[in-house]
C-alpha cells in the first residue's frame, strides 16, 4: 500500500492537443506523467519548493496512441515516440543495428523494472539526482530556493566536476549523451504547435532552475535521429557504483567517422560529470584528421578532461572520465584496449 501518495487527479489524454489543453488549463498544478518513475518518487518523497509545487493533477500521455512507436526510414532516420519505453528501445533490432550506442545507453539505465516503465522522453527531462534535491528538507536552487547546498556540503557521487554555475548537479541521463553524439532532434509540442529543437540546444546551463528548454505547457512528442553515414562507429560506456540501479559517476558517448584509417569526424559527449550532457570539442579536434592510433586517442582523452575543475570530494572523476573516454574511443575505433 503506497500510503505516502496524496490524492491526485489523473487525466488520460487521448491526443497531444488534449494533453496541452489540460496542461495550459491547470498551469503549475499539473504535471505530465508517462512512465512516472521519476515523478512519482518526487511526489512520494514530498519534494517541493517555490518552483516545484507538488502536482495536484497528472496528465497521462501514455494514452496518446502515436506516442509509443519506433519508426525507421532508411536514408532519413529514426523517429521514436516520446512514451516509448527504454526497454523497447534497447530491444529494438533497428535501434541496435543502426544506432547501437543508443540501445547500449538505454540498456544502462536503472533496472529492468524501471526500463519497463520509464520512457525516452522522461529520461531526457528527469530532474536532478543530487541528494540535496531528493530530500525534502533542503530548499535548494533547483526547487526555486536561494542556493546550492552541495557545493559546500557533500558531493561525492552525482555531481559535476566542471565547476560551472550556481548548481553542481550532474545531469543524470544515460540516453542524452548518446542522442547528442548522434545529433538528435527533440520534437516539442506546445500551444502554438510543434518545434524541433536540436539536442545541442535542448539542455540549459546550471544558472537555470530547470534543466531543459521545455516550457511548463510543452511536452516532448518525439525524438528524431538522422541516418548516420556508413562509416560511423559509436560507443557508450558508463561507470557506476553498483552493477545496476545506479546513475553514472561518469559516462561517455563517442561517435566516430573513420575513413582509410583516419578520423573524418568525431563527437564526444560526457555524461554524469556536468549539469548537462557535456560535449568536449577540443577532444574531438584532437582526433579529426588524425590516424586511428592509441597515442592519438590517449591525447584526446587527456584533452577531454582538461577543463575539469572538480569539487573537494569528486576529484576522482577526472581520471575516471579520462580512462572512460579512452576506452570508449578505443572501442569505437576498433582497437583492442588493454584489459
Amino acid at each position: 500500500m503506497l500510503y505516502e501518495i496524496p490524492q491526485i487527479e489523473h487525466v488520460n489524454a487521448r491526443s497531444t492537443e488534449e494533453a496541452i489543453y489540460w496542461l495550459s488549463r491547470y498551469g503549475d498544478k499539473a504535471k505530465v506523467i508517462a512512465g512516472g518513475t521519476d515523478l512519482l518518487s518526487l511526489i512520494k518523497d514530498k519534494i517541493n519548493g517555490p518552483q516545484m509545487p507538488i502536482p495536484e493533477v497528472l496528465i497521462n500521455i501514455k494514452t496518446i496512441p502515436e506516442m509509443d512507436r519506433i519508426d525507421y526510414s532508411p536514408g532519413k532516420g529514426l523517429s521514436i515516440g516520446a512514451t516509448t519505453t527504454l526497454y523497447d528501445i534497447e530491444s529494438s533490432n533497428e535501434v541496435r543495428e543502426k544506432f547501437g550506442m543508443l540501445a547500449d545507453a538505454a540498456h544502462e539505465v536503472a533496472t529492468n523494472q524501471i526500463r519497463n516503465m520509464g520512457t525516452i522522453g522522461g529520461n531526457l527531462v528527469q530532474r536532478p539526482w543530487c541528494w540535496y534535491f531528493r530530500v525534502p528538507q533542503f530548499n535548494c536552487y533547483k526547487k526555486g530556493g536561494p542556493q546550492c547546498y552541495a557545493i559546500s556540503g557533500s558531493h561525492k557521487y552525482y555531481f559535476s566536476m566542471l565547476g560551472l554555475g550556481v548548481c553542481v548537479m550532474a545531469h543524470p541521463s544515460d540516453t542524452a549523451p548518446a542522442l547528442m553524439a548522434l545529433g538528435a532532434e527533440i520534437v516539442v509540442a506546445g500551444e502554438s504547435g510543434q518545434r524541433r529543437v536540436p539536442i545541442d540546444g535542448f539542455f540549459l546551463g546550471p544558472q537555470e532552475v530547470f534543466e531543459t528548454v521545455l516550457k511548463p505547457n510543452e511536452i516532448i512528442t518525439e525524438v528524431f535521429i538522422p541516418e548516420q553515414p556508413p562509416n560511423t562507429r559509436g560507443s557508450f560506456l558508463k561507470s557506476r557504483l553498483r552493477g545496476t540501479w545506479d546513475f553514472a559517476l561518469s559516462s561517455v558517448a563517442a561517435r566516430l567517422q573513420i575513413t582509410n584509417g583516419s578520423y573524418d569526424d568525431a563527437k564526444i559527449i560526457l555524461g554524469g560529470v556536468a549539469p548537462f550532457p557535456f560535449r568536449v570539442p577540443l577532444a574531438e579536434d584532437a582526433l579529426r584528421g588524425k590516424r586511428v592510433d592509441e597515442e592519438v586517442i590517449s591525447l584526446a582523452a587527456a584533452v577531454a578532461v582538461k577543463r575539469a575543475h572538480p569539487l573537494a570530494q569528486n576529484g576522482y572523476k577526472v581520471p575516471l572520465t579520462q580512462n572512460l573516454v579512452k576506452r570508449a574511443l578505443m572501442s569505437a575505433s576498433g582497437l583492442e584496449a588493454e584489459v
Partner: protein, 775 residues
C-alpha cells in the same frame, strides 16, 4: 555426545543411541511456500474493523529545545481520534530491551526524533493533522563528530537513554561530557612499553568504518488492538516476549495483558529486536482512541528512526618480531553512539576480537563510546565483531607484508589456544586452524602469486585475501529460554516456542530437533512460534542465539515428551519404557525389533481428551569455559585501476558451528552474511549533511545495498566438531559470516593492486585516490 553436559535445567535427557534420521538433512524451510507464493500474512497486511492510522511528527533540527507545542488545531480536525506529545505525556519513558528512553523529552537531539503522534481515520487525515501541530523550537548547537564531542568544550548532547542500574543493557550512569557513563572500557594484559621495545617492526594505522543500515525488505509495521483491558500487538519484531516486556512496562500494563504476535517477519538483522519507539507511540494512541491502530514507517523513516550499526574510528599500533611473533598491541576505538543505544550490552565487544583472537602478551585496548546528535545506534548482524575484525585483520596483513611473511602463516604463528590468555581458560571447542586451512585451500592460497604476471599489464588486477574471526552468540545468561512439546492423540506434534522465525529457518530447525528426539518425520511436527499467548518466555531471535539457546530446551522438551509416550506404549509392546526406540514414525523394542507400532498408533494410547505435554529449559553457560564460534574467509577480487571499481569474484567461507542441523539453512547464512558484508565493504555509504545532520540518502537508491550482480561465487564450508554443551553440538552461524568480509576483501585489494585502504566503504574514489590517480 556427552549428555551430562547439555545446558538444560534439571536432568539432561537420555542419549538417542541411534544414527540421526532428520538432523543433517537439507529440509526446505517449512514457511517457504507461503513466502514465495505471496500468501504469507505480515503485520502490515492485517486489517481490523475500525482501524485507525498513526503518523509521527518528527523534529527537523539536530538539537533543539521545545518551547511550546500546540496540538489544538490537529485535535480539532475531523477524523483525528488521538494526539500525543509532551503536552499530555511529559514524563513518559518508553523501553527498548528494558532500557528506559525518554518518549517526549524537552530537548530533541537528532533530526527525525519523535515530537508528537496522531491517530486518525485514514492516512491523509493523519498527515494533515501533523501539519496542523505547531511547535516552537529554540535551536541549539549540535555536535556530530564523536572526537569533537569528546572535547571538554563540546556542546552537550541530551541522550535518549536513561540510566538504569537494574537493566544490564542500559547505561548505569549519566554520561560525563558526552562520554557514555563517563568512562571508557579498557582491556589490558602484560606490559605495553616492554612489548613495543621487543618488537622489530611497529606499525600504526587509523581505521574508519561507516554506519550500516539494515535496509530490511519489510518496512516496520504494526497493528495494535486494544479492547479496553487487553492489548494484542501484531508486530514485525524479532522477539515477541521482549516486545511484550517493553510495551507492558512503557504503558504500565501487566505483561500478561500484552500479547504480541508475529505471523511472518520480513527481515530484521537485529534492527527489530525489542519494542522500537514507533510501537510505543502507536500502542499509546490505540489505548487513547480505544480503537485498533495501524502504523507503518516510510522508507526514509526506516533509515532515520531505527537503530543502526555504529560508525567508528580506531587508532591501532602493533609490534611484531621478524619471525612473526606479536609482541604488543595498543588501540583506541571511538564509537559514535548517536543519541542512544543498546550499548550497555556491547561494552568491550568492539575490542574483544583484537584482545583474544591472537596470542599477544602485551595488550592495551580502549573502547570509547560517545553520544552525538545523530540517530540511534544498536544491534545489527555482528554489530561490534564486524568492526573489530576489520581493524585487527587489516593490521595483521599489513604486519605480514612489512616482515615479508605469508599472512596465513602469521596468523597460525600467533594462534591463540586459550579463551583467556591470562587465566588460561579453555574454549569449549575451537577449530579455527581447520577453518583457515579449508577456506584458503578452496581458493588455492598457496599459488596466490599466480596473478602477478597478468597484473603487470592492463587496468584489471586480481588478488586474494583472507581474514579470520571469532563470534560469540552461543548462549548467554541471563536470558531465559524454554520450550514445550505437545503430542496429540491424532499423532501430530507441536513445538511451542516463544521466538520469532526471522527468515533464518528457526521454525524448521526446531521442528527438526523435536522430530529427531521423538523419532517422527519432520512433517508431522508443527512449530508454533511468534506468539506470547501459547508459549513460555524465550529469547529474541538475535545474537545468533536461537540454535544455541533454544536447541537444548527443545531437545529436552521433546525427550521428556518421548519418555511420557514410551511409558504409555511400553506395556502394549510388552517391554520396559527404557527398551523402546523410535525413528521416522515407528516405535520399536530395541532387543526385538519385530515388536513395534507406529507413532500414530502409540498416540492413540493417550487418554481421550488429553495430550502429552513436556517442557525444556536451557540453563546459562558455565563461567569457567569460553564459548565462541570461529571461522575464516578467503576471497578473490578484481580491481579496475582505471575506474576504481572492485569486484568480489569468489569467497570461500569456513565456519565452525559444532553440528550442522540443516545444511541448506546454514549455507543460506553464509550467502546472506557475505552479500551483506559486500554491501558494507564496497557500497553502503550513508551520508549526513555536515552542517544540519540531515541524512541525504535515506532511500534504497542512493543507500546502495548489493544486487544479484554484486554476488560472487560463494563456497560455504561448515566445520563440525563435538561440543557437548549444545543440542547435538549445534551452535551459532547466523551473524558470523558477515564478520570477515570487509578485512578479507580489503586485504585482497592490497594483494591485487598494492594499495592499503583503511576506511569503509571502499568506493571507487578511495581506490583511485589510493592509487595516486586523484586528490
Amino acid at each position: 555426545m556427552t549428555e551430562a553436559k547439555l545446558l538444560v535445567q534439571g536432568i539432561p535427557p537420555e542419549p538417542l543411541d541411534r544414527p540421526f534420521t532428520v538432523i543433517g538433512h537439507s529440509i526446505s524451510r517449512i514457511d517457504g511456500v507461503e513466502k514465495v507464493s505471496g500468501t504469507a500474512e505480515y503485520a502490515g497486511d492485517i486489517q481490523l474493523p475500525n482501524m485507525l492510522c498513526a503518523k509521527i511528527l518528527r523534529c527537523p533540527h539536530a538539537h533543539a529545545r521545545i518551547l511550546k507545542i500546540d496540538t489544538s488545531k490537529a485535535e480539532a480536525l475531523p477524523g483525528v481520534k488521538a494526539v500525543i506529545s509532551r503536552n499530555n505525556f511529559p514524563d513518559w519513558l518508553t523501553y527498548w530491551y528494558l532500557i528506559p528512553q525518554f518518549a517526549f523529552p524537552e530537548i530533541v537531539s537528532y533530526v527525525g526524533q519523535e515530537v508528537a503522534a496522531v491517530a486518525a481515520v485514514d492516512i491523509d487525515t493523519a498527515e494533515r493533522a501533523l501539519k496542523l501541530i505547531e511547535v516552537d523550537y529554540q535551536e541549539l548547537p549540535a555536535v556530530f563528530d564523536p572526537e569533537e564531542a569528546l572535547k571538554p568544550t563540546s556542546q552537550k548532547v541530551t541522550p535518549l537513554d536513561v540510566p538504569d542500574s537494574t537493566c544490564p543493557r542500559a547505561p548505569a550512569a549519566w554520561p560525563v561530557g558526552n562520554l557514555y557513563e563517563g568512562k571508557t572500557d579498557i582491556h589490558t594484559r602484560g606490559d605495553i612499553a616492554k612489548g613495543f621495545q621487543d618488537a622489530d617492526v611497529v606499525i600504526e594505522e587509523v581505521y574508519n568504518t561507516s554506519y550500516q543500515f539494515h535496509a530490511t525488505l519489510q518496512t516496520r509495521s504494526s497493528v495494535i488492538d486494544w479492547d479496553g483491558e487487553n492489548m494484542t500487538v501484531h508486530d514485525s519484531c524479532q522477539g515477541v516476549w521482549q516486545v511484550s516486556q517493553d510495551i507492558a512496562k512503557s504503558l504500565g500494563l501487566p505483561m500478561e495483558k500484552v500479547r504480541v504476535v508475529v505471523k511472518y517477519q520480513g527481515g530484521g538483522f537485529g534492527s527489530k529486536a525489542g519494542a522500537q519507539r514507533y510501537l510505543h507511540y502507536a500502542s499509546r494512541l490505540a489505548m487513547m482512541a480505544g480503537r485498533p491502530v495501524r502504523i507503518e514507517l516510510t522508507r526514509p523513516e526506516e533509515f532515520i528512526s531505527h537503530p543502526h550499526r555504529h560508525a567508528t574510528k580506531t587508532y591501532l599500533k602493533m609490534g611484531v618480531k621478524r619471525d612473526g611473533t606479536l609482541t604488543a598491541m595498543e588501540g583506541r576505538s571511538i564509537l559514535n553512539l548517536g543519541v542512544g543505544s543498546t550499548y550497555g550490552n556491547q561494552k568491550e565487544k568492539l575490542i574483544e576480537t583484537a584482545f583474544e583472537l591472537y596470542e599477544c602478551p602485551n595488550v592495551k585496548l580502549e573502547q570509547v563510546a560517545v553520544y552525538t546528535n545523530t540517530p540511534l545506534t544498536g544491534y545489527m548482524r555482528s554489530v561490534m565483531r564486524a568492526i573489530g575484525d576489520f581493524f585487527l585483520e587489516a593490521h595483521m596483513d599489513r604486519l605480514a607484508v612489512e616482515i615479508g611473511m605469508d599472512p596465513l602463516d602469521l596468523r597460525m604463528k600467533n594462534y591463540a589456544v586459550f579463551g583467556d590468555q591470562v587465566k588460561k581458560l579453555p574454549y569449549s571447542a575451537k577449530n579455527l586452524d581447520k577453518c583457515m586451512k579449508i577456506s584458503t585451500d578452496a581458493i588455492d592460497w598457496k599459488h596466490r602469486d599466480r596473478f602477478v604476471e597478468d597484473n603487470k599489464n592492463g587496468p584489471i588486477k586480481r588478488g586474494i585475501g583472507m581474514a579470520s574471526y571469532m563470534y560469540d552468540g552461543v548462549g548467554m545468561a541471563p536470558f531465559k529460554a524454554s520450550a514445550d512439546v505437545v503430542i496429540k492423540r491424532n499423532g501430530t506434534v507441536e513445538v511451542l516456542a516463544g521466538v520469532v522465525d526471522i527468515g533464518g529457518g528457526q521454525a524448521t530447525m526446531m521442528a527438526m530437533l523435536a522430530a529427531e528426539e521423538l523419532g517422527v518425520n519432520v512433517n508431522s511436527v508443527k512449530t508454533v512460534w511468534g506468539d506470547t499467548g501459547p508459549t513460555q518466555f524465550a529469547p529474541g531471535t538475535h545474537a545468533s542465539r536461537m540454535t544455541a539457546e533454544m536447541g537444548p530446551a527443545v531437545v529436552q522438551a521433546a525427550a521428556n515428551a518421548r519418555k511420557k509416550l514410551f511409558e504409555l506404549t511400553a506395556q502394549r509392546l510388552s517391554a520396559e519404557p527404557i527398551e523402546l526406540r523410535s525413528a521416522l514414525g515407528k516405535i520399536q523394542v530395541s532387543r526385538d525389533q519385530q515388536r513395534s507400532m507406529s507413532f500414530e498408533e502409540a498416540c492413540q494410547l493417550i487418554p481421550d481428551g488429553e495430550e502429552i505435554r513436556a517442557s525444556g529449559s536451557r540453563k546459562p553457560n558455565p563461567k569457567d569455559i569460553v564459548f565462541h564460534t570461529f571461522g575464516s574467509q578467503a576471497c578473490e577480487v578484481e580491481v579496475n585501476t582505471d575506474t576504481g571499481a572492485v569486484r568480489v569474484l569468489r569467497v570461500a567461507s569456513a565456519h565452525e558451528l559444532g553440528k550442522v542441523l540443516n545444511p541448506k539453512l546454514v549455507d543460506s547464512q553464509h550467502y546472506g552474511g557475505i552479500i551483506m558484508g559486500i554491501g558494507y565493504t564496497l557500497l553502503e555509504d550513508p551520508e549526513f549533511d555536515s552542517k544540519t545532520g540531515i541524512m541525504l540518502n535515506p532511500d534504497l537508491h542512493q543507500y546502495r545495498i548489493p544486487t544479484s550482480l554484486e554476488v560472487p561465487e560463494i563456497l560455504p564450508f561448515n566445520i563440525e566438531a563435538p561440543d557437548p554443551f549444545f543440542a547435538y553440538s549445534a551452535k551459532a552461524v547466523g551473524e558470523a559470516p558477515i564478520v570477515p568480509v570487509a578485512p578479507s576483501v580489503r586485504n585482497a585489494i592490497y594483494h591485487a593492486a598494492g594499495i592499503w585502504i583503511n576506511s569503509l566503504p571502499i568506493t571507487p574514489d578511495a581506490v583511485l585516490k589510493a592509487l595516486g590517480k586523484s586528490k
